[in-house]
Symmetry: C2
Subunit: 386 residues, 2 copies
């Protein structure tokens, strides 16, 4: 079963925005139409036999049961559909499900739609209350928002490896610089290390500019069993791995690790027969600056404790050897939860087809995405090639 | 792939309650422990390699990202997991996913957990607002709750086939009588046709007693690739079908049909090689009394327009030829959304193993469940045999 080369044959994304004027179902509608229309050789709604929806919370949009809605939008009713949720890794989980549906012969062409309208909640306090529901029940009870949990991780990492607040700031600076080149990014604003350091602490040592954006957005893609029917230049899904860690930070022996990233990456490399040295471009889950640095280490891009070192050496910048988050990442492009992982697939689809415009990474043949939920309780790593 | 006989090897349910004193995660914890402990030959958490969660809304419980939580409860971290949602058919959808994971060789033993704590919302008006989010966006905009949409269906059915409010009442009376025999049922109270007719209209012609219960509950089961390893008397999953209709009632040419039920049933019968005449016991989705009558017709138990006729003839009563909802159904046992379809699997597991106590249907060898979401926008039909 593993030898079948499932291909991505289309991708689409709305521009992510801090506050969209449109309702969640309007974002969905644009994505459904846009994804179908973006197929090189054309596709009919009738060709879609499965729809997978990625959405985190109905408190971010007010709608549920959206699979039959999307099925009706494509003018189908013999297609099947469902929604999946795994916190911020819902989009990656949808890719995992779609890829396996095709590999298992349960579907020919799967349309994946991810969306989140976070501005449905009137204040950021209310947004954070919804987000906190993805934590361990005991963390929810004590009222710990994710920024505080990541702050514990950051402090522990800084103590153990001597990293500094400046090191964290460099992640934000890099991703904002990348976002300047991405017309889909929600916050296209150049920032300096000083800007980050001067921004207010949200949960020490993490500051406002260490944190990803609260955003509205939606994205979609289609995976196919016979990709060449729909395009001469599909992007192949080489592997998708889904792995988990304890949902609670307090349950982990070493909180400076996000070990489900390592487990998922090891499996994804094993299935694909590739290694990190084969990867030309990466989209990773920089929910907070600290998580991008630890992700470098878990993926094998850097040794333990040397995440900031490779960033300072320029390895992961736009023109470096392993550009990470050319889209601007969750930090500048935005983080509309259910859309995030789906948007990563879209970005890598464009990068590997050479269609990424000003943010095109040169000679990008293979890409990797890392999408995680909670504090790494769920992780999806996927590898793509052109 | 279709020839593999996937088996249910355990099932568990909390008693459904109108208002549980326990939090959602406490209900989940009881179900996880209870489902593991109920395996005849014993099972270890290590044997579970996939967890599928069924839950409708985080507004009914306040928690999300529960797959890694359940994985941690079973003392695992190499298992994978995700949550699925398809409105009131989330539980059936979880069965569809679990069955296919095993058939596709992606998992050996899948633990399915469904839960919903509807009393998390303080008033029934707020409960109904959450439920309404499962409708078509245009139905949500006009503020149509499901009882009004089902009232349109009921009125249209009554006009077309001459059915009466008394006919509808008989469904409620039957299911409440069945619920008297079920210690897991939330409302064990005998009611008469007169009680139903005297109850207040919620949305004419549907009354309070035509409506299923707002309930807290949770249930679980395990499906296995090698069921005999865990029990000498597994209940085999012969087929599971997932089908859809338009999400909006207004989009249908004939609203007296719930045609996705017919499509799902036809496919489930085809895959299993069985017909409705082979079925000994049924659990169906009596969200409102009208839906049970139409379901009889869609499943082929009755001709179109003759749902009430077969009920009055006693065909579907506890001692009839085709007992429907011996558990008491959504009407008396209760309807904790994400748990509902999972609880149907549990009920049929007990019925087909002869473990259903006072509500045991005699000589039950084959069972059918029908679980639907919205006004039938999603339907799951599954067939089981001992």
């Amino acid at each position: 079963m593993r030898k079948m080369r499932v291909g991505v044959v289309s991708a689409y994304s709305v521009k992510y925005e801090l506050r969209s004027e449109r309702e969640a179902w309007e974002l969905i509608r644009e994505v459904v139409q846009g994804t179908l229309k973006s197929v090189d050789k054309g596709i009919s709604g009738r060709d879609i036999d499965f729809v997978v929806i990625s959405n985190f919370s109905d408190r971010f949009g007010g709608i549920l049961h959206t699979a039959p809605y999307v099925i009706s939008l494509i003018g189908q009713n013999s297609a099947r559909g469902l929604r999946v949720e795994n916190a911020c890794a819902s989009g990656g989980t949808a890719l995992y499900v779609a890829w396996n549906l095709v590999r298992a012969g349960l579907a020919e062409n799967v349309l994946v739609v991810g969306y989140e309208k976070m501005s449905y909640q009137p204040t950021s306090a209310e947004v954070n209350e919804v987000l906190a529901a993805a934590g361990h029940p005991d963390e929810i009870v004590i009222g710990a928002p994710f920024v505080s949990l990541y702050a514990l991780i950051a402090k522990s990492y800084m103590d153990k490896y001597g990293a500094t607040e400046e090191d964290l700031a460099l992640v934000a600076v890099k991703n904002h610089e990348n976002g300047l080149r991405n017309p889909l990014a929600a916050m296209r604003r150049k920032i300096t290390v000083e800007d980050v350091l001067k921004s207010p602490y949200v949960s020490w040592p993490l500051k406002l500019y260490d944190s990803s954006l609260i955003t509205d957005g939606a994205a979609g893609f289609i995976v196919s069993r016979e990709p060449k029917k729909f395009t001469d230049t599909p992007v192949y899904v080489e592997s998708v791995s889904l792995a988990h860690d304890t949902p609670g930070v307090f349950e982990r022996p070493d909180i400076t690790e996000l070990k489900a990233i390592r487990h998922a990456a090891e499996e994804a490399f094993k299935i694909s027969g590739l290694s990190v040295s084969d990867i030309d471009v990466l989209e990773v889950h920089d929910a907070f600056t600290i998580s991008e640095l630890i992700t470098y280490e878990m993926l094998g891009l850097a040794k333990r404790g040397e995440g900031a070192k490779i960033l300072k050496e320029g390895v992961t910048t736009f023109t470096g050897e392993k550009p990470v988050n050319p889209s601007g990442g969750l930090k500048s492009k935005g983080h509309p939860i259910g859309a995030t992982g789906v948007g990563m697939v879209a970005e890598l689809y464009w990068q590997l087809r050479g269609e990424a415009g000003d943010r095109q990474v040169r000679d990008a043949e293979r890409g990797l995405m890392e999408n995680h939920g909670g504090t790494g309780g769920t992780v999806v790593v996927a590898i793509f090639s052109r």
